[in-house]
Subunit: 195 residues, 2 copies
């Protein structure tokens, strides 16, 4: 596929992302996407066969962690980049895909989510192992640590559709993950003065 | 209210719980509940004015943590009891209210969820402080630790509607919370043999 086609697909995915975040999965139609992107029906279908294909492509976009490990970047730098993205996502309640994910999963796409979860886990475990081997990460159980990172994040992301979560929750998340992987005293005194 | 009325209300809430877990919030009607409980329409409305009242009562049922602290029970015992309940809930995918919570929140019940979240947080913070003062809990920031406990749990609970989660995820959760509060080496060697 040429660069122009790639660009059009990106534009479609970006428009679809907004719609899925706002309306969930089921309520978004290919017609909505024509309207949003300015593409004709024929033009849109040239790139995607339906909203399911678009959504599943959005969900499988990945951080290039393995590539960065291979090129020998420092584990702490990769970690901080990942945490920065996550922090933005948590604070950005309007763009949570959680509701759409629920709906799409309930339509029988469990295999897709099993694959996505497995890959995300493998990515985090690889980074944690790499950090332990090369960059002084704390000795943790990589699978256990990856679970905390992923499900704690999912909880924040999903719960932010239920009540507004602020910067504070995102900061605690980042702090907890960094303390777990990099160590350092939990600065409980900075927040509370109760003990 | 007499003991008999209290018992009927409990029966209604138990039946409603099953329905909300299975169908979400919006799709459950008072008629469904009559059918499920065997109560007449008039009988049901004597206790509850609608499904919203029932759902909100289910959501605000609470662990009696503060009472147990007041009577001087050991913090570790209370902690283990709470973790046992949570572990059952995580493994019991069919009974997750997550979808119903989403739907109910989207109907404009944010204030209720803000209150519930605040109370759950206060309860955990109280237990953590009590444990630090009286039962050798690790020195942590209580608010930060409570966030991990609550949102990591929410993530597991909600994600278990998307893909099946097993005992393993529940065990990692309990292990992580116990290590954070009670200390002890992360037994990474028991799971993986990679470093």
């Amino acid at each position: 596929m040429g660069a122009k086609a790639e660009k059009t697909k990106e534009k479609i995915r970006a428009a679809a992302y907004e719609l899925f975040a706002a309306k969930g999965f089921k309520q978004v139609t290919m017609s909505d996407l024509c309207e949003q992107t300015g593409l004709s029906r024929g033009g849109l279908y040239r790139y995607y066969s339906g909203t399911g294909e678009i959504f599943s492509e959005i969900l499988t976009e990945e951080y290039a962690v393995e590539d960065r490990i291979r090129t020998g970047e420092r584990a702490r730098v990769i970690l901080d980049d990942m945490l920065r993205v996550i922090m933005q996502e948590i604070s950005d309640r309007e763009h949570s895909l959680s509701l759409a994910i629920y709906e799409y999963a309930s339509l029988g796409n469990e295999a897709l989510f099993t694959r996505i979860t497995g890959r995300a886990k493998a990515r985090w475990e690889a980074l944690i192992r790499y950090g332990m081997e090369t960059d002084g990460f704390q000795k943790v159980n990589p699978a256990q640590a990856a679970d905390l990172i992923l499900y704690y994040y999912q909880g924040l992301r999903m719960w932010s559709r239920v009540i507004p979560l602020g910067e504070a929750e995102a900061e605690f998340y980042v702090k907890t993950v960094r303390q777990m992987l990099l160590g350092g005293a939990p600065d409980y005194g900075a927040y509370e003065n109760t003990i």
